[in-house]
């Protein structure tokens, strides 16, 4: 069974059909790309998948469960975690605490135990600190664990967002332009990390990317959106050579 399946997913803002009858099928373990020019509706798709926006039409199934109408908290608990195109870290918290927030729902600790640091608190906190450091290590952020998140350089902030999302132990990870603003070297490194995460954490990744070359290097399957509609989908190499796709991007990237 597909881990994520949308049928005729649509949303309208006033007269604007931002996403129109989108059918996405993502299998477990896939690294799937969602590409398209500016304003195509990619981020809007993420916002619907995570419950930020309610679709005006169509259905979303996660692992066979319909998640239409659920709120972001419920959806995260069901197994979707995301990053944001415009970085949204917990800026006044330390790097490690950002990740610990992600682990929050996996910690069983009553308010009373938290007030007095008794009972399960000590053991849980030790465990979660260790797990958070492990995760930071994957993203090469363990050296900055106690830095304020807002003091991190841009590229590291993007990585921290991924680490934080992974801490919620999702089945499906949504990355919104994870390499935006990074230099080519950082980008290449990040793509390696994303592949590593997919392979080692048994993760399924849906990734929005603007840069077609970059998508070609990492995603097995892609869907191209244009003006809210699916323009093409399939094997990455074929789709990227599709003349319609190239036309949609002309004047954009190349």
């Amino acid at each position: 069974m597909a881990i994520l399946e949308t049928k005729d997913l649509s949303i309208q803002f006033g007269g604007l059909k931002a996403v129109d009858h989108l059918n996405l099928t993502i299998e477990k373990g896939q690294l799937y790309g969602l590409i398209g020019p500016n304003g195509a509706g990619k981020t809007t798709v993420f916002n619907m998948l995570t419950g930020v926006y309610q679709p005006t039409g169509g259905t979303i199934h996660l692992d066979g469960i319909c998640i239409n109408g659920k709120n972001p908290v419920e959806i995260n608990k069901l197994g979707i975690a995301r990053t944001f195109q415009n970085i949204r870290l917990f800026g006044k918290m330390s790097v490690i605490d950002n990740v610990k927030v992600g682990f929050g729902n996996s910690i069983k600790c009553s308010l009373f135990e938290s007030f007095f640091h008794v009972g399960r608190y000590k053991k849980n906190e030790k465990e979660v600190t260790a797990k958070a450091l492990e995760l930071l290590k994957v993203f090469d952020l363990d050296g900055e664990a106690n830095t304020l998140a807002s003091n991190l350089p841009y590229g590291k902030q993007r990585k921290l967002e991924i680490a934080r999302a992974m801490a919620t132990n999702p089945k499906l990870l949504l990355l919104d332009e994870p390499a935006a603003g990074m230099n080519p070297h950082e980008t290449a490194e990040l793509m390696q990390t994303i592949r590593f995460v997919r392979d080692n954490f048994d993760m399924t990744v849906l990734l929005i990317e603007h840069d077609m070359k970059l998508v070609g290097g990492i995603c097995e399957q892609v869907t191209v959106l244009n003006f809210g509609q699916e323009l093409a989908k399939g094997e990455t190499s074929e789709v990227l050579n599709d003349p319609r796709v190239i036309t949609a991007y002309i004047g954009e990237d190349e």
Binding site: F84, F90, V101, Y121, T129, N169, D202
Partner: protein, 374 residues
């Protein structure tokens, strides 16, 4: 779903937050001991002694407000209202049980808990509608609730006779009531407030008043800082820093904000209980919005981040005007200059960098010392 398994990370040191916590506890203990020594063995003036308990009350009130303003990131202007509830509940309890509970310590402890809990319950009830609002709206509505509480307490009549308790919000209802004159006792008397808070539970006359208050503050600070360094506390701060991201990470934002709000009301209530037991008579005149705003000033000028700096800022800003009384006409001018200076210090990038540098140095030193620890 599978668990993350990456090996190779072993180094675990005492978290930075834990170190920071102990610094704050140390500071509270240090102040308590130093001041108490001065009071017991030095030649502390009466006006100095008279300032001690009120200072503690404001410190606790400011700390409690910081849970909402600093930790939760919401602007609340109703703190004096919660103090008022705590003060009235605590004082009424002490008056009623003045004879039935023999031990002052027991009575006072129960009064503190009761005042805090009732204030916390009101915090919860007020929080239900109020926490749906954001920013300025929340400030306005909490301000209104504070005033309502004050006004209700100021019109409250509580008496008893052999037939039981009598409660009214209207003096006419009270005069219409047929009391048994022989056994009638008035506990709460409308605008006149509560009279005759038992002298034995009056902490002002207690030589150890300051230490008792500081002990309460220490417990409060421990609970607050423990909370901040827990899953629930991190959720509150996450919701403060970015609501949308917090929700996407599975944080129940409403519940988190409510937790912080109720805790804040609880400790404000406790501050109110301390306040009430410093006097023989209690009325509502000291619980208006000016008081809430004063407390907010302490918090904001304390930088809103660290409980420690809120504490220090409150001590400076509360004690200073009193200490400057001798300077008469210069007093308010100096006070204003201090306010402005603190504001500048809080917002100056250069000073922040300097502080960070110093902190980094200390952190490095500590790490080197702990080098061997695994």
């Amino acid at each position: 779903m599978r668990k993350c398994e990456v090996t190779g990370v072993k180094k675990l040191t005492l978290s930075a937050t834990a170190k920071d916590r102990y610094t704050t506890y140390g500071l509270v203990v240090l102040i308590a001991v130093a001041v108490q020594l001065f009071v017991s063995y030095g030649n502390a003036s009466n006006s100095f002694k008279g300032l001690l308990v009120p200072t503690c009350v404001y410190v606790l009130a400011a700390l409690s407000l910081n849970l909402v303003v600093g930790v939760s990131g919401e602007l609340s202007l109703g703190q004096a209202g919660f103090m008022c509830i705590g003060a009235y509940v605590g004082a009424t309890f002490s008056v009623i049980t003045a004879e039935s509970i023999a031990s002052d310590a027991v009575r006072f402890t129960i009064a503190i808990l009761l005042g805090g809990i009732v204030a916390g319950v009101f915090g919860f009830l007020i929080g239900i509608p109020v926490l749906r609002l954001r920013g300025d709206y929340l400030a306005i509505v909490t301000l209104a609730f504070g005033e309502i509480i004050k006004s209700v307490c100021g019109n409250l009549y509580l008496s008893a006779d052999k037939n039981g308790l009598f409660v009214a919000l209207d003096v006419k209802a009270k005069s219409a009531h047929a009391f048994d004159a022989a056994t009638k006792v008035d506990y709460v008397n409308g605008a006149l407030g509560i009279n005759g808070i038992p002298r034995t539970s009056n902490i002002r006359v207690n030589e150890w008043a300051f230490v008792i208050c500081m002990a309460v503050i220490l417990i409060a600070v421990i609970v607050m800082l423990n909370f901040i360094d827990s899953k629930q506390g991190r959720a509150v701060m996450a919701a403060r820093d970015n609501r949308i991201a917090a929700e996407a990470m599975g944080v129940n934002v409403t519940r988190s904000k409510m937790t912080a709000f109720v805790m804040s009301a609880f400790f404000a209530g406790v501050a109110g209980v301390l306040y009430a037991h410093n006097y023989n008579v209690l009325d509502t005149s000291n619980f208006d919005y000016n008081q809430s705003i004063l407390i907010l000033v302490f918090v904001v000028l304390g930088g809103m981040t660290k409980m420690r700096s809120v504490m220090i800022s409150t001590i400076i800003l509360y004690v200073l005007p009193e200490a400057l009384r001798g300077l008469n006409k210069w007093r308010m001018l100096i006070y204003a200059i201090v306010l402005i200076a603190m504001m500048l210090i809080n917002n100056s990038v250069a000073i922040k960098k300097l502080v960070e540098k110093i902190q980094a140095k200390f952190a490095k030193g500590a790490e080197n010392k702990e080098g061997g620890a695994a």
